[in-house]
Assembly symmetry: C2
Homo-oligomer: 357 residues x 2
């Protein structure tokens, strides 16, 4: 049975909108009280484009929020308030809306975000969720993409590259599950020829008893990206330029380089991959897929080389999978290199939406 939009707002979403700004979701607008800078981002996710029709509705709710949280965190800010535009598909059971709202409410709470307003409507098309998220900068400066300087270090923080892409392939059944199950010495040569060019570490050679857990982790990385708001403190304190990695490391590094008018030299072996992703790469997978796949939702930033020690010593940086992956140089574009310093050409520039026919 279809649900009435006003009842949905009153019964399912208003309980997550407790701040004064939200006006209990009965008004046409929210009223934010702010002093100084407010960081604002707005991202939409569409069924069939950003998530699969069969993805659980709970993780769809989480992903819709988190792709926006990721942008706010990458600007060194604390997420505070959200506007939700829920554009519900006529073909989905209305009973799922309650499940969506509950999961969304849980995630709001987890990230300390107030729901302050939005819109609820129907569509004859796919489920579409558009969120605008407000954040409070932790410092005076809100780093842009455009402030990287030659000589700086290039850093990643917040998680692993490529796991979400592998998780998506697993969900789509497009990679061989067995390949993740075993590491084989005889594939070392193959991986060498694919540009990884280092010794396969022992931990990858072990038979993997925990395949299901690892596959689950990869799928989770795709379904509900594990965005870590703690990254904001380090970004705010140290970053010259920063952005979140959402369209693939290769493509997003290109954007930062272009905006800053510099070149980035990235050592691929310094990029943090998950154990199953490394095993996949060592056993025949093309490592370049991991850096062009997208959906990583970690933070890419640059910082002066003299801050290197302070950044590595910053509280929580190791738990946040901090990794120094390269250098900013004079020039144009992004160059990936292997451990021998040999360039690894990246065939595709990462995910870009093609619009229209």
């Amino acid at each position: 049975m279809s649900a009435n939009e006003f009842a949905v707002i009153r019964e399912l979403f208003a309980p997550h909108a407790k701040s004064d700004a939200a006006r209990a979701l009965i008004d046409d607008a929210a009223v934010l009280e702010t002093q100084g800078k407010l960081v604002v981002t707005s991202d939409s996710i569409v069924e069939g484009v950003h998530f699969l029709p069969t993805d659980p509705i709970e993780t769809v709710a989480m992903k819709a929020l988190r792709v926006n949280v990721s942008d706010i965190v990458a600007k060194g800010a604390r997420p505070k308030a959200a506007m939700l535009n829920l554009i519900w598909s006529d073909t989905r059971p209305s009973s799922e809306i309650a499940t969506f709202a509950e999961a969304f409410g849980r995630d709001l709470k987890f990230f300390g975000v107030d729901l302050v307003g939005g819109d609820t409507t129907s569509t004859p098309g796919p489920l579409t969720i558009s969120i605008t998220l407000f954040g409070e900068p932790l410092g005076q400066r809100v780093p842009s993409r455009a402030d990287a300087q030659p000589g700086e270090d290039v850093w990643l923080i917040g998680g692993e590259i490529g796991s979400a892409w592998l998780g998506l392939q697993l969900r789509k059944g497009e990679i061989d599950l067995k390949r993740l199950r075993q590491g084989r010495d005889e594939l070392q040569a193959m991986s060498d020829s694919r540009g990884l060019a280092r010794e396969m570490p022992d931990y990858l050679k072990l038979p993997n008893e925990d395949f299901d857990a690892e596959a689950g982790w990869l799928m989770t990385a795709y379904l509900a990206p594990f965005v870590r708001p703690e990254c904001a403190a380090i970004v705010s304190k140290f970053a010259s330029a920063s952005m979140d990695v959402s369209d693939g490391l290769a493509a997003d590094a290109e954007k930062l380089a272009a905006a800053s008018n510099v070149a980035l030299l990235i050592e691929i072996n310094a990029v943090p991959f998950s154990i199953p992703a490394e095993r996949w790469a060592f056993t025949g997978g093309d490592v370049r897929k991991l850096i062009t796949g997208g959906d990583d939702y970690v933070v890419l930033f640059t910082a002066p080389a003299e801050l290197r020690g302070a950044i590595e010593a910053a509280e929580g940086s190791q738990a946040l999978r901090l990794a120094r992956i390269g250098k900013v140089e004079v020039g144009v574009g992004v160059l990936f290199a292997n451990a021998r310093g040999e360039p690894i050409p990246i065939p595709e520039a990462g995910y870009s939406h093609k619009l229209g026919r």
Copy 2:
């Protein structure tokens, strides 16, 4: 040929994003500098739900912005900055995006709004546009829906009721165009029985030489609602409670009454209709359709009776089609009455989206 999202942003939208806050649309987030209150609203429009697939793409762009401007104006605020989420249908030619962007840019300029950010993505479904709009309150108070008091007057300002609904019917070919062409004395009795209950004024009896212009005006009211930002000054200065009328006067008055915990008594003859809408009602159309039809985008507000003279004398109020349409009373719900004070039952409560199946 499909278009690349980054090229679209850079070439078509960045020219409309000149403020510092926008960071030239190359960053992941906008940075607003604000002091005090910020009014925020977010509304989406969906092809096939809020506009017809055959509506001109220029007016779709205008409508997407204006439904949000209407919310800001109704809160007594000046629209300032917008985030645009453009979710472009795979089935639409990408060449239309430039036309959309140009019309959107013109309308931003008209309303004095900076584009500060957003998202551009594709959808296999219908064209969907989600906008978040920021406004600066003109006064200290931002009137909510919940502050109407018994004894106050009920006002409309900003335009006519029912024209947009009639325009939609014209576009859909669902009303008899001939009916708008002539006013006939013999239909007076019919209109009486339908609750309008007043003498047909002479101006409605005249044959309408200007039918095409009138039909065009009605269609324009539907396609690109004529939202008047000047209303904000009067709302800010005088309104106790206010909201925009978008889902139909009957339904939105119900919402204001419910939020304020009062009853509204509205005299239907005091409601401002356009000349063609009045003629339609007098010649057999059901006047109740005009007040439940929706898409009006005018402002409904209440104010203390002692302010009546000041409101009527306020600069611009007559040009803004100010109309005192009723009274706030103790009680529940909305009662429409004709000139004889007889109640006019409203069969349907206005437009509400049914969500899901």
